[in-house]
Amino acid sequence: MKGRVFNIQRFSVHDGPGIRTTVFFKGCNLRCQWCHNPESYETGIQLEYFADKCVGCRACEEVCPQGARIQDGRRIHRQGCTLCGKCAEACMYGAIAIAGWDLEPETLLETVLKDKKYYINSGGGITLSGGEPMLQWEFLSEFLPLVKENGISVALDTAGNVPYWKYEKLFPYLDFILLDIKIMDDTLHRQYTGVSNKLILENAKRFIEQGIRMHIRIPLIKGINDTIENAGQLAYFLGDAPNVEEVRLLPYHTLGVRKAQSLELPVCEFSPPEAHTMEQLREIFGDKGVC
């Protein structure tokens, strides 16, 4: 079966140890308002229009079989779009892109193998990210055995909101999990991500019990989850589990805003925590805290 990805990033040095290739899978079952990859929300392939890059040459209009129009140089008229991709091909300025493409496990393998030596020399490997890669767990269960046959380390970057038995299917192929835990308070979690954190925390507990190597990642948004209280609850929740190797604090950045606009999604702009707050919060996690 095919997997659906929206980006493959080589020389990734922020998604786990060493030099990694991060594969971003399309589709997510959370709707975090601060998401920096909003093109990952939908499972379907999408058309992105970046107004800031559009020079108004109308090359896209000439090739569109559906008669698409650029309106005021600000938005693209999407009605009737069949996602044929002709406009993106015709655009010379990177103003139109198709988010998402499908590929066979073998094809993806070929790509990630290109940097195998870099992984080995750096203690790196591949990271499955997204979106929520676990929504494509069936594809992964075909793809990952191939990766492991080649002796490559695999990290799974998940939001944790998927039934545990699906994770279990993949355990034999995973070297460690990067688990996002965004907010401890369930009401707030629902408010900002659209879902309850119940399953996420349950899964986290079980991962800890399983002894699987874990990095916890918290995107920190000023005034929402950058509180001592939230960090304290999380620290208490994690306890001193030896398999939780680090807790990484990721300050909010605005990279997602442009992408949200390109998809005509509602745009929420937030702020990163103050530097001293970051430092305070990091200290709560002791030696494991990383900024």
Partner: protein
């Protein structure tokens, strides 16, 4: 830690005025012209050097650990005018006349301050080891002994006499410095100077002192710059080890001496960026020693096959990291099994923007052997100037060709014609390389090829590559023809015209022959292939458009190019933006890296061999001349418009590597570097990509993997575009910001605006 006194001197040095000039040298040289220009050439040279060294003052500051400096001051306007008139008289002469006085000079800048009977352009390594172990006295004795040979010609005798005068003059100068030191109460320093005035170096301090005296004189007095200091960590190690063992030296003291030595290499350079000829400082300078740095070679394999990393290697890398000056330009030679901790030290220093680059023994040794360099000296290979390979002590100065690899493709598509200036309008010529281009090695203006198949007769990629090869061979043949003509004339005109380096090379005294006459073991022309990525992209574009997709015939495409895409703007844009490019790890494109290299190497080999004294060694290097060279190439099938720059050094075309740095490195490593003898690959990394321990780990692995994959060279700038822009606005604040340009480092604020903008543009699209 750098000593406080030295830090103060460095701060002061950053604030110096670019007009400061070694006026004593200039005045004495002008006197010497009257006194000695009618003498036989060797004598005139020796007497001139003696005349200068006898009279120049010998500054010595209390905080200096090594003696050897010159007095600098700003000339009056009247003085400046006089000097410029004299320089003009020396060199503002017709090319043909100039040709009789000097054959190779790289650029006008290099020429103007050098007297015609006292020339030296450096770009080499002296036999440093021989110097330290013999000492000046024994070298003089050897030259005298050689003079007793009755079979010598008058020219040979004249040359040897000149070398004897030089040795004597230098010994006397050092002895006088000993007295200067004595008077200042520096009895230890005086003792060292007395020893090395005639004798061999016996301690670590004496070795550095002797090296420094010779560098100072060669570079600042004689103009013999851009030196390869060679493997100091190897040849100084016995001194260091002995001194430590006998309690004469500590690690701290050794480090202080190294710092002092490194700084002194900077101290004598002019405050310019020699590649930015439009800046006031470069335009003004009256000095022979520019900002072009000396190279220092560290680590690497030893002749017995073991690794060369030793405690001195560590000290020197640490010093370079802390000083962060542009000189020396440190080359660390990688080999399989290089100690991990040392590799981390090096990568960390590079990350901190020290002037350190990496070369790969695993490709360099086979490449040099391929072009005839023998063991054991091949293991001592190093570099000077713009990443040019060098066998220390066994070669004279630089002879070079910047070979524009894009040219033959343009000729191949136009039956040997040059669309920007069609042949029928030009006058016939003996050699495609005019005298000026031969002297500087740069291909400028119109070049024509041989009449070959018309585009409509070229029916496959194979046939196109054959035609490309024909044109490439023809141009290399034309270069060889011109070179041999010049070389013949040089031998006739300048038989005993010596240069200071002839006193310090292996073979010159034994053979009683200057290096220009063939006195040394090796003679090389650096044949720098330029625009490799542009050619690769262009060939792939033709394959795709003409032979795979059949969108155009080759005739149609060549007509479009001839018209510089006029009326086809969208096509040019599409080719630029949408066609796959070198640098993205795509085999279908990257395969041309090997194809083009093989053709280039085959061409080089065709015009090498026993018929010629000088052998071409191919490199991939453009320095900053990729813009100049691009000016003379019409539109290319990769969407590049006529006159636009060709690709820089080994980098992908600007902005075309979009798949991450590992993909880029994988593409470049498909070049068969075991046939290529040098040249830089510039990487620009955003500071955030390599911060912290994890970043260092990633960087170490990145570089190591590139080397394991058969990459040849790497140099980096870890700085973001914003910092560079701030430096443009507030130069005073950023005066110490040192960046790697190509084969040298520059202080960013001293670079010309154009060079600054180029660097910023290239920095903006980095990972």
């Amino acid at each position: 830690m750098v000593r406080c006194e030295l830090k103060k001197r460095i701060e002061k040095w950053f604030d110096r005025d670019y007009r400061e000039t070694f006026m004593e040298r200039i005045n004495l040289v002008m006197e010497a012209e009257q006194l000695y220009r009618h003498e036989k050439e060797g004598l005139a040279y020796g007497h001139t050097l003696a005349h200068i060294l006898e009279s120049i003052s010998q500054p010595l500051e209390d905080s200096e650990l090594l003696a050897g400096a010159v007095a600098m001051r700003i000339p009056t306007e009247e003085e400046e005018r006089t000097i410029r008139e004299v320089y003009k008289r020396w060199w503002d002469i017709p090319v043909e006349e100039r040709h009789k006085k000097i054959f190779f000079y790289y650029s006008e800048n290099w020429l103007r301050c050098r007297p015609y009977w006292f020339p030296s352009f450096g770009h080499l390594a002296l036999d440093w080891e021989g110097l330290l172990s013999n000492g000046l006295g024994r070298m003089e004795f050897k030259a005298r002994e050689r003079m007793k040979d009755e079979n010598l010609t008058e020219d040979q005798k004249g040359f040897l006499e000149g070398t004897v005068l030089c040795y004597q003059a230098i010994s006397a100068y050092i002895e006088r410095y000993a007295q200067t030191a004595e008077k200042k109460g520096r009895s230890g320093m005086a003792e060292d100077l007395r020893q090395i005035a005639y004798g061999e170096a016996r301690t670590f301090a004496q070795a550095l002192q002797l090296l420094w005296m010779i560098i100072l004189i060669a570079q600042k007095v004689c103009g013999c710059g851009v030196l390869n200091l060679s493997r100091m960590d190897q040849y100084l190690y016995p001194f260091y080890e002995r001194d430590l063992g006998e309690g004469r030296l500590t690690n701290e003291k050794a480090r202080e001496l190294i710092d002092e030595f490194f700084f002194k290499n900077n101290e004598i350079m002019v405050q310019t960026d020699h590649m930015s000829i439009e800046t006031d400082s470069t335009d003004y300078t009256l000095e022979v020693a520019f900002d072009d740095p000396n190279y220092l070679i560290l680590a690497g394999k030893k002749a017995d096959g073991t690794g060369g990393v030793n405690p001195l290697t560590w000290l020197m890398v640490e010093s370079a990291e802390e000083l962060k000056l542009r000189n020396p330009f440190v080359v660390v030679r990688y080999y399989h099994g290089i100690p991990t901790k040392f590799w981390q030290l090096v990568c960390n220093a590079m990350r901190n923007n020290a002037t350190i680059v990496i070369y790969n023994d695993e490709t360099m040794l086979p490449a040099l052997k391929h072009y005839g360099v023998e063991a054991p000296e091949v293991f001592d290979y190093g570099f000077y100037g713009c990443n040019d390979p060098n066998i220390p002590g066994d070669e004279g100065g630089l002879r070079q060709l910047w070979f524009n690899l894009v040219k033959p493709l343009e000729l191949a598509l136009n039956q040997g014609d040059y669309p920007m200036e069609p042949r029928e309008k030009s006058s016939p010529r003996d050699c495609q390389f005019g005298p000026e281009d031969r002297m500087t090695g740069l291909m400028t203006g119109a070049y024509y090829g041989i009449k070959c198949k018309a585009p409509e007769e070229i029916r496959s990629m194979e046939e196109l590559l054959e035609v490309y090869e024909e044109q490439l061979m023809y141009l290399l043949g034309e270069f060889r023809k011109g070179f041999e003509m010049d070389f013949e004339a040089e031998q006739k005109e300048t038989k005993s015209r010596m240069r200071i380096e002839d006193c310090f090379l292996r073979g010159t005294i034994d053979n009683a022959q200057t290096w220009t006459m063939g006195g040394t073991k090796y003679h090389k022309i650096v044949a720098q292939g330029c625009g490799i990525a542009t050619v690769i992209n262009a060939l792939y574009a033709i394959e795709k458009l003409v032979f795979t997709d059949k969108e155009f015939t080759l005739r149609e495409l060549s007509d479009i190019l001839r018209d510089n895409y006029s009326g086809n703007d969208m096509l040019a844009l599409r080719l630029r933006k949408k066609l796959d490019k070198f640098g993205n790890d795509i085999d279908a494109v990257d395969k041309y890296a090997k194809i083009v290299t093989d053709l280039y190497v085959r061409g080089i080999e065709k015009y090498n061999g026993k018929d010629y004294l000088y052998q071409m060694w191919p490199t991939y290097s453009t320095d900053r001349d990729f813009t100049t060279m691009g000016r003379y190439v019409g539109a290319t099938p990769d969407g590049r418009l006529a006159g636009e720059p060709i690709s820089e050094n080994q980098s992908p075309s600007e902005g075309s590597d979009i798949s991450g740095i590992t993909a880029m490195l994988n593409s470049v490593s498909k070049i068969p570097f075991d046939r290529i003898t040098g040249g830089p690959l510039n990487l620009r990394l955003h500071p955030s990509a390599v911060q912290g321990d994890e970043g260092l780990n990633a960087l170490c692995a990145l570089f190591q993997t590139y080397m394991e994959n058969g990459g040849m060279q790497l140099q980096i700038n870890v700085v973001d575009a914003e910092t560079l822009r701030n430096a443009q606005c507030d130069p005073e604040k950023y005066k110490t910001l040192c960046v790697r340009v190509t084969g040298y480092s520059a202080f960013f604020v001293e670079m010309g605006r154009k060079a600054q903008d180029e660097l910023i543009a290239r920095t903006e699209q980095m990972v």
